[in-house]
């Protein structure tokens, strides 16, 4: 369905590029939910914008790698160019529902605009379709909300509108960039449930980006962990949470509060991720890794498949041992 | 200022060649004003009816006016008036705008009253305000500075007020206040140092627009006395000769444009390196 291969996004001049996303690869199958998890600044949002063809201009650019949607190369194409080329079935929802809708245009218009492009409808049928989409995202009183302005809706309702706009693109792949981070916890649960249900019902694949391991554990089928612009580990959700192989993933798990952690102080990973452009030849995690060895600092670690469908970017991965 | 500090300030100009041009013109004007008696080839007041209205030539590069005075010499000497008016207006605007703005932001009750008064003054278009003041005070260089400066006092006050309000909200200022820092300490330590860069931007724009305001007053005969050479006065005296001697008005006018343009360029370059939170206080109106 969606295949991303060696995607490299860079800033700075052509002669001395600084890679903020370096050789990211992943596959997304029909109806599958892939979680992309990492600290803020690790390049996960850049990855999603690059995949969607929405990198801000002037700014970062795709220096290498390919994005294939159903086998068709859409790498350097913006969304409208993809629509023209007949590969427009990818959509995205964003982190900030408060600012992601145009404040001076009605909800109905904003949804119908996407309907017109993707369904080639216009006039009343487009509005009908917009209402139908609002029903699909469980918006209370959809017919009324068509003529509402964004400021009249709550945060959760706005995010539902954003999802409706995305669905108007009839996506095979939906990219969700921290869609629930800005919402209250109860609303968060509802929106996650809605996304899960829509993926099942519409057989839609989703790339779900978050820094929240808890959300990933509930929602994703597979998980990729990103660190300093690289994917350091990819595995099925159970394998990853049960037997993390990368030292960084393991560190993240240890930082998660659990029910029996009580008042105990949570552990942290010492140090800071390297700034883009300061990464040397060795492993990007070497400076913070508890099990670092001499070769880690000088040689790039290999990508090893430690078991079926479980990749890790580490020269000395944790042994699986007993499941946690 | 240390060498690094100087480089930091020059950075926006190096990044933008056109801003460097602005800095160059400004420097040229300052040099012309300082060394006018040595740079000017003739006495700017010397009248010679035999060479009235000569077009530019090898002896008189910018030609001569209706009294046979050398235009180039007069243009060079006029740079003094331009700098005097410009810096005078800037100093007046800052000397009034900064205290009023800072105090208004720190003492909300007083501030409310003062800012309402600023609003009232802003209801008068700036040139009209200047004209009214000239009527009351009479035309002179000092009064021109005051009359033009009053219009920029209001905008400067507004900007300083906005900046100070924002600074007051900053966590470190709040923290300093909560630890019992006095108002004077607050102003000296936290507020004034942060106002320096934005005020430099404001000063550039005020200087630029003061040139245009002064030229207008001179042109109307309500600015500097006619016997003092200034670009505006030169335009006012020669305007009736425009069809017979079009070059007469060209050079003084170009000097006004060049000075205002260069200050605008400098202000623009400085604004771009301001803290983005402060930048929005400078609308595109200068």
């Amino acid at each position: 369905m969606l295949s991303v291969r060696d995607l490299t996004v860079s800033l700075g001049p052509e002669t001395a590029p600084v890679d903020i996303v370096a050789g990211v690869s992943f596959e997304l199958g029909k109806g599958e939910i892939l979680g992309l998890v990492g600290e803020s600044g690790c390049g996960k949002s850049m990855t999603s914008l690059a995949v969607m063809g929405l990198l801000p201009q002037p700014g970062p650019r795709i220096r290498a790698g390919r994005v294939l949607l159903e086998g068709c190369d859409v790498t350097q194409l913006q969304p409208w160019q993809r629509v023209v080329a007949g590969h427009g079935r990818m959509a995205m929802i964003f982190q900030e529902p408060m600012t992601s809708l145009n404040p001076v245009r009605r909800i109905g218009d904003q949804i119908a605009e996407a309907v017109r492009v993707h369904d080639r409808l216009s006039g009343p049928p487009a509005i009908d379709r917009a209402r139908e989409l609002l029903e699909q995202v469980r918006m209370p009183d959809p017919a009324m909300q068509l003529s509402a302005y964004p400021h009249q809706l709550s945060g959760g309702q706005r995010q539902r509108v954003m999802i409706a706009i995305a669905l108007a693109c009839r996506p095979q792949v939906l990219i969700a960039d921290e869609p629930t981070t800005a919402l209250d916890v109860t609303i968060q649960v509802q929106v996650l449930g809605l996304l899960r249900e829509l993926c099942n019902r519409l057989d839609m694949a989703m790339l779900f980006i978050t820094h929240d391991m808890g959300v990933i554990a509930q929602l994703a089928d597979r998980v990729s962990v990103m660190y300093a612009g690289r994917i350091v580990e990819t595995a099925g959700v159970e394998a990853l949470f049960g037997r993390p192989r990368h030292h960084y993933t393991r560190g993240l798990m240890d930082c998660m509060p659990s029910r029996n952690s009580g008042a105990r102080r949570l552990p942290t990973i010492a140090g800071q991720p390297p700034a883009p452009g300061t990464v040397g030849a060795g492993c990007v995690f070497a400076s913070r890794c508890a099990a670092v060895r001499e070769t880690c600092r000088t040689a790039a670690p290999p990508r090893a498949e430690v078991s079926q469908g479980h990749d890790v970017l580490c020269a000395f991965p944790l042994d699986g041992g007993e499941p946690r | 200022m240390s060498r690094d500090g100087a480089i930091l300030w020059l950075k926006p100009f190096i990044a933008r060649p056109i801003a460097l041009l602005g800095l160059g013109i400004l420097l040229g004007t300052i040099l012309a004003a300082t060394f006018a008696p040595w740079l000017a080839p003739y006495d700017p007041y010397a009248i010679d009816p035999s060479i009235r209205l000569t077009p530019p030539n090898a002896l008189h590069w910018f030609g001569t006016d209706q009294f046979g005075r050398d235009t180039l010499s007069r243009v060079i000497h006029s740079a003094r008036m331009a700098l005097l008016i410009g810096s005078g207006v800037v100093m007046f605007a800052l000397a009034t705008g900064v205290p009023i703005g800072v105090l208004s932001a720190l003492f909300p009750r007083l501030g409310h009253l003062l800012m309402r008064m600023v609003d009232v003054l802003m209801a008068f278009p700036s040139l009209l305000l200047a004209l009214g003041l000239i009527v009351v005070l009479g035309p002179s260089v000092a009064n021109a500075i005051l009359a033009i400066g009053l219009g920029y006092m209001t905008t400067t006050t507004r900007i300083v007020y906005g900046l100070t309000l924002r600074l007051r909200m900053e966590t470190y200022v709040e923290a300093s206040r909560s630890m019992g820092a006095g108002t004077a300490w607050l102003i000296g330590k936290h507020i004034l140092p942060n106002l320096v860069s934005p005020l430099l931007v404001q000063a550039s724009f005020v200087f630029a627009f003061a040139q245009l305001g002064a030229a207008s007053l001179d042109f109307l005969g309500l600015g500097a006395p006619p016997e003092i050479p200034s670009w505006g006065n030169m335009l006012a005296e020669s305007r009736t000769f425009i069809t017979r001697a079009p070059w007469l008005l060209f050079f003084p006018g170009m000097m006004i444009v060049a000075t205002a343009f260069s200050l605008n360029l400098v202000g623009d370059a400085l604004r771009d390196r301001l803290d983005p939170r402060f930048r929005q206080l400078f609308s595109e109106k200068g």
């Binding site: 605009e113 706009i165 | 609003d119 008068f124 009527v135 207008s216 335009l235 006004i256 205002a260």
Partner: protein, 314 residues
Amino acid sequence: MWSYALKRAGTTAVTLLAASIIIFAFIHIVPGDPIYVLLGDTATPDQIDALRHQLGLDQPIILQYLTWIGHVLEGNLGRSIFFQAPVLSVIADGAETSALLATMTMIWVTLIGVPIGMIAAVRHGTWLDQGLSGAAMLMASIPTFWVGLYLILIFAAWLGWFPSSGYPSIFEGGLVNLRYLVLPSLALAAPNAALILRLTRASMLDVSREDYVRTARAKGIRPWQVVVRHILRNALLAVVSAFGFTFAALLSEAVVTETVFALPGIGRLVVQSILRRDYPVIQGVILVIVVVYLLINLIVDLSYRLLDPRVELQ
């Protein structure tokens, strides 16, 4: 909306009241007693006292202010010393020229400033953008009267396309008389168009960085549709609010332009009245301009609110 409009109208009234005090004070601080201006140097003390009493100048200052503001509210702005006519009718004579000049200038400003600002913003960062922005800054740095003089030289004296000065009423000579205002309005438009250009560009760039523009692009609509439907309207909201400011700048800059082109407008009236020491006219014109300026700002502000649906909740 209505409560906002009322509140906004209230502040305007208060500002106007305060401004009227300043304008009233003006005539009392001008050098020389206005009585001498009226009667000349040869007046006897008796004549002076009589006039002083007749004008109410021997009454307490507050009473004088109340009398004056009462007259103003009745439309009586006093008598011009020079014209020996009511100030209001003297101002009304210049109003046609000034209103048409301002309108024509605003048309140029809109036609030049907004589209070119849009082009600069859409081509952001290219040489075209830098050229246009630089040109705008240059235009904002040019004195209007200087441009005016060269426009007269080129288009009136040399080419003879337009008249160089004066303005006969369109009610007497028909709409062709508008050609008298072409050069003055162009001169006056140059710096103001430059300001609107820079403002349009800046606010379009601000809006284009908004999240909702990214949402619009994600929908797959074409770039020009993104510009027209999502960036332009939101950016122009900011530009609309600058129109009041521009109009104000225009009222005062017209003072110089009308002098250069010898237009019988309010601006030239101010300058001539200053030179003639016709204080009642100066006072009246300043009052009228301030009222017009405040009213325009009020209208602009309210229409801005009307265009922006977000205010319903505020």
